[in-house]
Amino acid sequence: MTLPALVFYACALGALVCALLVVSSRNVFHSALFLAGALASLAVVYLLLDAEFLAVVQLLIYVGAVIVLVIFAVMLTAKVGLSAAPQTNRLALPAGVGAAGLLVVLQRWLLATPWAQAQASAAADRDPLAAGSPNLQALGLSLFTRYVFPLEITALILFAALVGAVLIARKDRP
């Protein structure tokens, strides 16, 4: 077994264990920390999949910003003694059965699909924007030429979310 495959298995195991602890931990603060672990493991998987920029973005935005935001929310809203109460509602058993059933169905589909065939037939087409340039340069070119309009819309959405979050979480209502 090659080294990248070993790293992938280790990261997949880490991400899955961390994700299970996120949804099963009684303490929400611990959940947030396990979520950080799962997202960091996924960043390594991105790195293995030749998406270096996305790995760094994952670490900066998810593990950096979103987790800090979640931990702030936990600390602002946590009550003393809350961690002793059960953290799941009465849907836990049916939801567990449903999620496991969905997983089984998805895995059966995955096993039934001829991936090697699709890989052999689809790998030939080449994006003219990405031809012969490194990942980051090609991604930047693609973002600022072909996807420049979605990029601007995304900037607008981020601005609206910023204003909305400040307005919603503000203490004194007008």
Binding site: A38, Y46, I61, L110, A123, D125, T154
Partner: protein, 105 residues
């Protein structure tokens, strides 16, 4: 692509992450916990994009470009969602979702 790992194995990881996130979203009583489950599901979708990009179109970057947008939207969603949680805590002194029953008849 990762040598020694097939596309199906990466997709299996992402399917498992999605189901775990779904379970978290449905069962968590704490609103912050629900948001964390949502983040797990977002990440499963992102992993799918990157895996399909890396295995089926290694010379194009369409999937990775989409993931940049998805991460941005997910960050915006987390910001607004957590602001709503803080606002709900101010109004009802609780973040448990069964206490958010103002519209229940």
């Amino acid at each position: 692509m990762i040598p020694g790992i097939s596309l199906g194995q990466v997709l299996a990881l992402s399917a498992a992450l999605f189901c775990v996130g779904l379970y978290g979203v449905v069962t968590r009583r704490n609103a912050v916990g629900v948001l964390m489950g949502l983040e797990l599901m977002f990440n499963a979708a992102n992993l799918n994009f990157v895996a399909f990009n890396g295995y089926l179109h290694p010379l194009a970057l369409t999937g990775q470009t989409y993931v940049v947008f998805t991460i941005t939207i997910a960050a915006a969603e987390a910001t607004v969602g957590l602001a709503l949680v803080v606002s709900m805590f101010r109004a009802r002194r609780s973040v448990l979702l069964e206490h958010a029953d103002l519209l229940k008849g």
